[in-house]
């Protein structure tokens, strides 16, 4: 519990200047990921999560609703059928949550998938101190509109069936200053033989919520609470 207390200490002494952080995620049957995903991000500084449940049938929605700091929105099959690409749905959710974040006075909004776990880059004695996001946001330059969180891509390890994902502990680390999209084909093909992982976008973004004007991309796109 020592590490948790250090988080609280930081909160209590610097609360006056701490930025407020919200995040959004669009999930489709991610019940296995959601508890760890939500509790982890709450512990490192996320105050509000907007969770968009896309045709979930595995209890994801109930899990998300069990956290009072999470706002849950349901997307049904009829709404999804209007789009060819999942990214169009995501764009609508992004704009919707940006509007909400602004209404609620959040300074920053971060978008993540449920299998992605953000972390800061702080010096610190404990894993929790190193991962806290608010110190990173405090240090952002005034002119910065978004912060790119580079990807540490898991390199899968053979594990017995049923092993939780958190037992995977080997990662590729990106280089600072690399382009937004980082192809890891070459790196993986070097070490893993002919089979390699798909290209992965090299970053996730955390944007300033307060200084933006919002466009709701899709007129009439209903996202139900």
């Amino acid at each position: 519990m020592q590490a948790i207390h250090s988080l609280f200490m930081m909160d209590s002494f610097t609360a006056a200047r701490l930025p407020r952080l919200a995040m959004l995620t669009c999930v489709r049957n991610e019940a296995k990921w959601l508890p760890a995903f939500l509790e982890y991000h709450h512990a490192i500084g996320v105050e509000r999560a907007y969770v968009y449940c896309d045709r979930c049938t595995d209890g994801s929605e109930a899990i998300a609703r069990s956290y009072p700091w999470v706002q849950v929105f349901r997307i049904d099959a009829e709404q999804v059928a209007r789009f060819s690409y999942i990214s169009d749905i995501h764009c609508a959710c992004m704009s919707h949550s940006l509007a909400l974040a602004r209404q609620e006075g959040f300074d920053w909004l971060m978008i993540l998938d449920a299998d992605e776990f953000a972390c800061g880059n702080n010096p610190g004695a404990t894993a929790l101190d190193r991962a806290l996001l608010l110190p990173m946001l405090i240090d952002a330059k005034p002119e910065t509109v978004q912060i790119r969180l580079l990807t540490r891509e898991v390199v899968p390890m053979r594990v017995p069936a049923g092993t939780p994902f958190w037992q995977q502990r080997y990662f590729f680390s990106p280089r600072r200053g690399s382009p937004g999209t980082l192809s890891i084909h070459a790196m993986i093909s070097t070490i893993a033989g002919p089979i390699f992982l798909a290209t992965v976008k090299g970053s996730r973004l955390c944007v300033r919520a307060r200084t933006c004007k919002v466009t709701i991309l899709i007129a009439g796109f209903l996202i139900r609470r």
């Binding site: 600072r176 992982l197 944007v207």
Partner: protein, 278 residues
């Protein structure tokens, strides 16, 4: 500002779907990371690419979807369960020995920070610990106290607790009206203490305790210093050292709480068990 795709934002161009805005880079800096668990097991791989199978093979921007991704979708859609059984182990994952050697060469990094944090907040367990209510037989003495924050009780050892919340400096979980915690203690007399802190005022005033399926007589019940406590005697305890503590509460009246839709039992910050006999 408006969304450009699942990953990117662009300045607001007042372009609405089905039209798409131009990609214009926003003032950006790099800081921090995110760990991406793209594929972690055979079942994860199957789930992921089954879900993606309905998507076109060309991205919105006109580029082909990358080959492993595309071929995995087809593979999962077309091959039988037997044929794809073991695919992850054979073609995607590497042995820990190999990965350790890659780490030694600087090709990959071993990174356990996430695991450590998930352990701190009680999501991941670090076997073989059994937390929080375990008293080793050899160390048992009157006055021994075990227990701790509900944040540290792993999911496998608790039932009927809602997600972790924070009040001031402390973590707590609301229980449902029925909640259970697994315990491992030798026979003896104990004092059970539930720490509800200042939120104890919301408790509806009833607690029934059972150990496994046996109802326990309410002995010496007190609510002082934000701790709800009662005595458990050795005749109350099941024969086995390992058993479940079941707690049953009346629902908290949340009608005036606005958006609260959960049925709440009690706000538990910590659970303690004090040994009264050596």
């Amino acid at each position: 500002m408006q969304g450009y795709d699942s990953h990117r934002w662009v300045p607001n161009q007042k372009i609405t779907w089905p039209q798409r805005p131009e990609y214009v880079e926003l003032p950006t800096e790099e800081s921090g990371y995110h760990r991406h668990f793209y594929i972690t097991s055979q079942s994860h791989w199957l789930d992921k690419f089954r879900k993606q199978n309905f998507e076109p093979n060309v991205w919105v921007c006109g580029k082909d979807v990358e080959l492993p991704k595309r071929s995995w979708r087809q593979l999962i859609a077309q091959m039988s369960s037997d044929q794809i059984d073991g695919y992850f182990d054979r073609w995607i994952a590497r042995s820990e020995e190999e990965l350790r050697s890659f780490a030694h060469e600087g090709l990959v990094e071993q990174d356990t920070d996430l695991l450590e944090i998930l352990q701190i907040i009680g999501v991941a367990t670090a076997p073989p610990t059994f937390f929080p209510l375990e008293i080793p037989q050899r160390n048992r003495a009157a006055g021994t106290v075990v227990g701790g924050s509900v944040a540290e009780i792993p999911p496998a050892q608790r039932i009927g607790f809602y997600g972790l919340e924070r009040s001031g400096l402390d973590y707590f979980r609301w229980t449902e009206t029925h909640a259970s915690i697994q315990m491992r203690v030798p026979h003896g007399d104990y004092r059970l203490r539930l720490d509800m802190k200042h939120l104890g005022a919301h408790w509806a005033g009833r607690l029934d305790v059972r150990l496994n399926d046996r109802p326990i007589t309410c002995r010496d019940r007190t609510l002082t210093d934000e701790l709800l406590s009662q005595t458990l005697l050795k005749e109350d305890l099941p024969n086995a050292d390992e058993f479940w503590l079941h707690l049953e509460f009346d629902p908290v009246d949340t009608k005036t709480w606005g958006e609260e839709v959960r049925q709440l039992g009690a706000p538990i910050f910590a659970v303690y068990l004090d040994s009264l006999s050596g």
